[in-house]
Amino acid sequence: MDVIDQEHDELETAFQAKVEAEQRIEPKDWMPEKYRQTLIRQMSQHAHSEIVGMLPEGNWLTRAPSLKRKTILMAKIQDEGGHGLYLYSATETLGISRDEMFEQLHSGKAKYSSIFNYPTLNWADIGAIGWLVDGAAITNQIALCRCSYGPYARAMIRICKEESFHQRQGYDIMMTMAQGTKEQREMAQDALNRWWWPTLMMFGPNDANSANSAQSMKWRIKRQSNDDLRQKFVDATVPQAEFLGLTIPDDKLAWNDVRGHYDFGEIDWEEFKAVVKGNGLCNRERLQARVDAHDGGKWVRDAALAYAAKKADRKAKAA
């Protein structure tokens, strides 16, 4: 073994020891290249998900049933934009530029959460998204607050503080509809039927089939496994559905006394794979909306830069 290899091994051992001692890794600290790449992939995809996640909800902004609902939904969507920005900012500390991340999203190289490739067909979907999708996101994100990478963990703490508003606004919509007319109850049930399984898919493949999980757990990027988090979400959500008087669309769902958890049916992994591959109902539409927004905003960014340059120039001349 030559000197460089040996030095690298020592650095890696020290890094692993640091992580296991629950010390946080900060941007300028030495880290294995794969750790950096894994974080860039995961964090940028997380950021993209927040940004793309604004689209399904934006669909109902102009058709919210009241001014109150509309202003609340607007605030929630603004939060999602903010969450995307916290995460892009944290990812940039790893040495990738914002433009590179946008480029990866727009070219399809970087993924975002598949849940946002499902359409929002009516107002009840906005309730179901807040309750289920944000609920699942919180379950994931609470675990990430203890991630070994400092900037990611700090962004997650900030995000988690704001997410509970999102889940409550969703549940509030569901409660109102579930206690409403027969037609409104049916809409709420229909939304639950369509969003339940895609929500469970948000936790990713089963542990046995999750290629990156073991390494991420070792590096303490991930703190809990996909299946553990999924179970946690199901256990928490079933009583919430019961309170609403709605039925979770799963024949196999039943309390298991021995395990102390709910048993539930198998996810349709073929559908999961198809949507990840780009064949969901809205993949193309979502991506196009992002590309259009970015291209459409170019003249604003250019004008702002030109204005800043002009001002700086004037200041220099006056001095």
């Binding site: 900060e26 300028k28 600290d29 030495w30 605030a75 603004q78 939060d79 903010g82 920005l85 916290y86 900012s89 944290a90 940039e92 530029s97 914002r98 433009d99 590179e100 480029e103 900037p151 700090r154 962004a155 900030r158 704001e162 960014r301 250019d302 702002a304 830069l305 204005y307 800043a308 001002k311 700086a312």
Partner: protein, 98 residues
């Protein structure tokens, strides 16, 4: 870095004082064309729920940072001055709290 990076709006680091009496604390970064836009963007991104009473923005390129690799030698001058810590001095119990 690719060519497009050149047209990227400059990066600013954001520091927020959550209330009077506390220090400004680093909260993250954002892109803006100038300092004024950085301030208003920082307000929108980082203080949507009354998280701050004062904001500083600093161009990221203007920050000079120590490097973690030099941590040993950089801080060494203070490491051998144990007498700077009150625990260096042994006090008889009779003296009580000092």
């Amino acid at each position: 870095m690719n060519i497009e990076t050149k047209s990227e709006l400059p990066l600013y680091e954001v520091f927020i004082r959550s209330k009077n009496g506390l220090d400004h604390k680093h909260v993250g970064s954002l892109h803006a064309s100038d300092a004024e836009m950085a301030l208003t963007n920082a307000r929108d991104v980082y203080t949507r729920r009354g998280e701050g009473v004062s904001i500083w923005v600093v161009k990221s390129t203007d920050i000079v940072a120590s490097s973690p690799e030099d941590r040993g030698s950089f801080y060494e001058p203070s490491d051998d001055k144990l007498y700077r810590h009150p625990t260096f001095f042994e006090l008889p119990d009779e003296v009580g709290h000092l």
